[in-house]
Structures are given as C-alpha cells and as structure tokens.
Symmetry: C2
Subunit: 182 residues, 2 copies
C-alpha cells in the first residue's frame, strides 16, 4: 500500500479541482484536527488523573483566582456560562472544587478549589507539560515559538468574535468582591 500513503502533508488525500482552497488546507479544519490531537494527548498523558482538559483549565484558573463566581470563572477560562456551570458541577462531584453561596450577593455561587484539587493539579502539571511538548514535536524550536505567538495573537485580537471570549478580572478597586473562603 505504498501508493496512496505518500500524500503530501499540505494537500491531504484529495486535492481540490474546482474550488479555490481544499478542505485540508482550510485553517478552520486544520485547527479542529490539531484540537482533536491535543485533546487525545491530554487524555493519554492524564489518564491516571481522570480529568478532562476543560476541568484542568478550571482548576488552573481557581488556583490563581480562588472564590470567583461562575460567570467570572467562565470568563477567565473562556467557557460558555452554561458549560462552566456543568464542568463545575462535575468537579464538585469529584471533590476537586467546592461551591458556596455568597453572602454579599445571594445570586452568586463562589467556587473554591479543594485541597484534593490542589494536589491533583500539582500532580497533573508535569503530564500536561508533556502534552504540549508532544503536540509540537513536528516543529523545531523557532517554529514552536512562532506557532504559539501566532495562536496567541489570533486568540487575542479575535477575542471579541468568540462566543465565549476571555474576560480577565478588572482588579485594583476592591478586589474580586467574593464572600471569601470559609
């Protein structure tokens, strides 16, 4: 089967005839496939921790911003508000985060990472680092830096186009106004 397997990486299995750009050259399609690979690598490297990439992101955000409400958490992790709520619910079920009603604003629920969550995060960080390294193996040192820079620029400058944009916390005037950890 040496005939069909030698497909140039840039064209894919079926180069296009009539259309201008082949499906396999569209950045949208390529980003989707790279995302699939990144997720697959995450599950492979983090199998022992039984968490998803999104759950890991929530723990990372909470480790740096403990006690934020769900909407703020969604903004910090660039999640949809509903999705964030569901992920937090599963993390709560696993004992990795705790949810408490705020006393300052009874609409909000403040999310705190638990000791178990912090330990898992500390243990998983090395595995997650391996995910990134394996993902970028096809690129050399300079290309990796450029690739990450391009991704960051696209994500940053197009942030408001996203349906779940990144929303950093506006700090400097009274903190993050939570009811605080117990």
């Amino acid at each position: 089967m040496s005939t069909s397997t030698a497909v140039p990486a840039t064209t894919g299995p079926t180069t296009q005839r009539g259309d201008a750009v082949a499906l396999y050259q569209l950045p949208g399609h390529l980003i989707r496939r790279c995302h699939q690979i990144a997720v697959a690598l995450f599950f492979e490297e983090c199998a022992a921790f039984d968490i998803t990439p999104q759950q890991y992101a929530v723990l990372r955000v909470l480790a740096a911003n403990d006690g934020v409400d769900q909407i703020t958490l969604a903004g910090l992790a660039a999640f949809n508000r509903t999705t964030a709520g569901e992920i937090v619910e599963r993390l709560e079920g696993a004992g990795l985060v705790a949810r408490r009603n705020s006393k300052l604003d009874r609409r909000t629920k403040n999310i705190f990472i638990t000791e178990t969550g912090r330990r898992l995060l500390a243990d998983a960080n090395a595995a997650v680092k391996r995910v990134q390294e394996r993902l970028l193996i096809p690129l050399d040192r300079d290309e990796r830096a450029r690739f990450i820079e391009y991704l960051a620029r696209i994500a940053s400058e197009n942030n408001e186009l996203s349906r779940a944009p990144l929303r950093p916390i506006a700090r400097g005037r009274g903190g993050n106004r939570t009811s605080g950890p117990a």
Copy 2:
C-alpha cells in the same frame, strides 16, 4: 478579604507565578480558543445556510467522494464514526444528502450528496472563504502561510495520535467499491 490570590494588574491573566507555563500560553488552550473563534465566525458568515462547520465538511468530502460508506466518510473528514453517523442523519433530514443500502455489502450504507446539497455547497463556499480570511487577519501574508503550514504539519505528523485520524481512500486498485449512484 482580598486574599493572597490577587494577581497584580500588570500580569493579568496571561502570566504565571509559580508554575512554569501559564494556562494562557499553553498551545492546547490556545488551539481551543482559536477553534472557538473559527466556529463562531463560521456561524456568523454561514447563518443564511443553517449548517455547522462539520456538516459543511461532510458536504465537501461527499462532493469529491460521492457514495462512500459512513466509516470511510468519517475517515475522510477526521470524524469519529458515531459522530459521523449523527451528522449524516441530520444532513439527511435536511435533504442535503441521501443514504442508500449498498447492494455489494449489506452492512454498509452509501452516502450521496443531493442536488440541494451541491447547490448549498456552491453558495456557502464564498462565506467559508471569508471565515478563513477573517480568522487570519491578525497575521500578515507570510505569517499566514507559515501558520497554515505549521498546523498542517502538526495535524499530519500527529495524525495517528488523534482519536479520529484522517483516513484517505486507498485508490488505484478497483476504486472505492460502492454500489454507485442511482
């Protein structure tokens, strides 16, 4: 209490203190955000067509490989087999594809793009082209070419790591062995 979790405003959400690499610098996280942006742009540009990026990909694959079975289709679009079946089912409901039992192999169902599907594809191509252009606005001409090349290389060289790898059709010895279009 403005706890010790308060991050200086100068660092914001993009830099880290203790850990080696910040969440916002991890390629896996950045790819996820770029994917969200690409999907959002797709829905914005293609609102009039009422299709999803994945459904568009299926139509593109069928336009070049009409009559393949679902597993082959999944491989050509880099979808999971179950996901591919669901997407095809919705496309069938919308009248954009047709599903017929193969006479050569009664296990398989061959998928064909309909005339409606071909027309929608032709109409949507310009909108999809705009999606790609808008996505890459933050990059200059040379950077765009490099970015796409990096994505293609990562997707290609890590293909087997994906849980839904790209599976080109092995051509040259008897075609794709379907029952053929009506």
